[in-house]
Amino acid sequence: MKENRSLLFGVMGEFSTPEQILSAAKQARSAGYKHVTAYTPFPVEGLAHAIGFRWTAVPLITLIGGIGGGLTGFGLQYWVAAITYPMNIGGRPLNSWPAFIPVTFELTVLGASIFAVVGMLALNKLPQPYHPIFSVERFAHASTDRFFLCIEARDPKFDLAETARFLQSVAAEHVSEVKYES
């Protein structure tokens, strides 16, 4: 029991429409399951909320990236033009700040965008080419037209038989175990 439990990731039920999985997810939460994950071929409104996922750090990270980029941009230009090697360029002042705006702006956007994407990937723990869930035969459909709800083994309320039964009770087709490969 113990060791095969350690190989167990969770139990997964399959649904055919967004509505079904949404209600299933809600019920799972209300049934007291904490570690519930839903897998869908496209974002389903309210699903994340239903499985209790509210706040994401992506916007904050992006903001930081943007501010960083902007400061670097203007700082660099000011330092180059006015401090390290001040030169008379066509009679223009050393700190020609209006001329420094375009580069500052571009670097702001660059910083923000890179942080946004990298942040999103990192928070999603990607890249992660291996995941036990891929072992489930029918999971291939998760990227086409099927919807999956997985209750993870680490959930305190988890019990293989019990949870599986629960999933069937919320009208899941093909309930299947998700296992790590030994």
């Binding site: 967004p18 997810a25 994950t37 839903a38 897998y39 869908t40 071929p41 496209f42 974002p43 389903v44 409104e45 699903l47 994340a48 239903a50 996922f53 994401t56 992506v58 916007p59 992006t62 943007g66 660099l76 180059v80 033009a81 390290t84 090697y85 360029i89 066509g90 223009r92 020609s96 001329a99 420094f100 375009p102 580069v103 702006f105 571009e106 670097l107 956007v109 660059l110 923000a112 965008s113 890179i114 946004a116 994407v117 942040g119 999103m120 990937l121 928070l123 999603n124 990607l126 890249p127 992660q128 080419p129 995941h131 869930i133 999971f139 291939a140 459909h141 990227s143 086409t144 037209d145």
Partner: protein, 464 residues
């Protein structure tokens, strides 16, 4: 994402075509689009097209090699016309690039559903256009192997780029634009790559798409962060896309050359960019939907909308041309007035009239629904407008330089064989990359199409 579209079948909607052909399910859209990449055998058409464009790319390489051996003197440029085809092509390509980001970002923010089936290849087009554009600033320099001087790095000479120069702004704008577009595109691709991975027909496809998909599982958490990031990118890309062509227009607006030194440039360059961009999207979309039978996804509704955008931006551009003249005479600046007259009566006037024909007169046909719905005609017009936009840059870059301040230094410009071969070469490169793209990646965003199906069927069910 909520979609506020009146349910199908209601009276007012009948006049509008659907953005998606009837009777599609999640699976069917996925199949249709994925199959183009995964199962469909290489058609003779594709092979021929690829072979042809590949040859043209070779022409590009030869032209560049010859350029590096001999120097920019193999082109028609001289003093006073220091910039010729190279910069014209650069601005032209950059402009074309704009439509992609615009569609994917701005229309996304504006929640335009019809963007869904065209944004993917529009973005691809952006990347390829930027790639073509990027070649020119580099090779047009007299010593390309020294071009890295434009990069800010701690050299042993203790000197740095000169940040007051619009060319440096270009370096940053274009590279940022390229990077962000690439990120945006890749993020959009992630779920589809997963789809391809899961539907892969052989180990090879599995490995490639698997690696690219980074193990995307479509979990609710993923989607949540994903959407947030995508929205932010869209928000960032929108001002970026506007800034890029603004900066490009600064190359001219900041200079004192009559015909360059104008405040109208930024807005009307951006409009022009969108204009040419949409023209190019049409140029690609129309053959694409035909070749791969995607009429259900790229419907008349899309073509119609794009035509309308072209009409709108075309009018803005026309306004720009008008303001140039108005300001010349209104300001009474003798150099500007002289230049305006040059455009009408000067040695290059025929180029100017050709430009007016292509960019202002032709698009007026788009007022008529019949024209907007005539696919063949639309295709032709998109080509005409692309030519027109190229001419616009030619008029601005070259003709302004031929007769500037000191009459003793006036000159004329005649492109050489190598000018043309380089232009042709980049067109070939652009086309070749597109050919590779349609076979390597889903030309339409599958996951978003599924969403669309979801919403459509939704509204469908509501009717019951």
């Amino acid at each position: 994402m909520s979609v506020t579209q009146p349910p199908l079948g209601t009276p007012e909607i009948r006049r509008l075509d659907p953005v998606l052909g009837p009777g599609h399910t999640y699976a069917s859209v996925t199949d249709k689009i994925a199959s183009v990449v995964l199962t469909r055998p290489l058609g003779i058409g594709w092979l021929a097209g690829f072979a042809l464009t590949f040859t043209v790319v070779m022409v590009l390489f030869i032209s560049i090699a010859w350029l590096i051996i001999k120097g920019v003197g193999i082109w028609g440029i001289n003093v006073p016309i220091g910039w010729g085809f190279a910069i014209v092509n650069f601005v032209w390509w950059i402009g074309i690039g704009h439509a992609g980001t615009l569609i994917s970002a701005i229309l996304f923010l504006l929640n335009q559903k019809w963007r869904t089936s065209i944004n993917r290849f529009a973005e691809a087009m952006t990347l390829f256009a930027v790639a073509c554009a990027g070649i020119f600033p580099l090779i047009h320099t007299g010593r390309p192997w020294m071009a890295y001087y434009m990069m800010p790095y701690p050299s042993t000479m203790g000197i740095w780029p000169q940040f007051r120069s619009p060319l440096i702004w270009d370096v940053f704008a274009v590279s940022t634009y390229g990077t962000v577009s690439l990120l945006f595109w890749f993020v959009g691709l992630l779920p589809d790559l997963a789809t391809l991975r899961d539907r892969a027909k052989n180990r090879f496809q599995q490995l490639i798409y698997g690696a690219l998909a980074m193990g995307w599982r479509g979990s609710a958490h993923h989607w949540h962060r994903y959407q947030s990031a995508y929205l932010l990118l869209a928000g960032l890309a929108t001002p970026l896309v506007l800034s890029v062509h603004t900066v490009v227009s600064f190359d001219f607006a900041v200079a004192i050359v009559p015909g360059w030194h104008t405040t109208i440039f930024p807005p009307y360059f951006v409009a022009g960019a969108i204009y040419s961009g949409f023209a190019m999207v049409l140029t690609i979309a129309i053959p694409l939907r035909k070749a791969y039978g995607l009429e259900d996804f790229i419907t008349m509704r899309h073509l119609d909308n794009m035509a309308k955008v072209m009409l709108a931006t075309g009018l803005i551009v026309a306004y720009g041309y008008f303001v140039e003249f108005f300001m010349a005479f209104y300001s009474g600046n003798k150099f500007d007035v002289f230049l305006a007259e040059q455009r009408l009566h000067g040695p290059y006037s025929h180029y100017y009239y050709a430009l007016i024909l292509c960019n202002i007169l032709t698009p007026q046909l788009l007022w008529f629904e019949k024209v907007r719905r005539n696919v063949a005609l639309l295709f032709v017009m998109s080509l005409v407008i692309n030519t027109g936009m190229w001419l616009e840059r030619f008029v601005i870059v070259v003709i302004s330089l031929t007769r500037d301040f000191v009459p003793s230094a006036w000159g004329r410009y005649q492109p050489t064989f190598w000018d043309f071969s380089t232009l042709l070469g980049t067109i070939g490169l652009f086309a070749m990359l597109l050919f590779l793209f349609v076979r390597g990646l889903p030309a339409i965003a599958i996951s978003e199409m599924r969403e669309l199906v979801g919403q459509e069927s939704h509204s469908g069910r509501d009717r019951k």
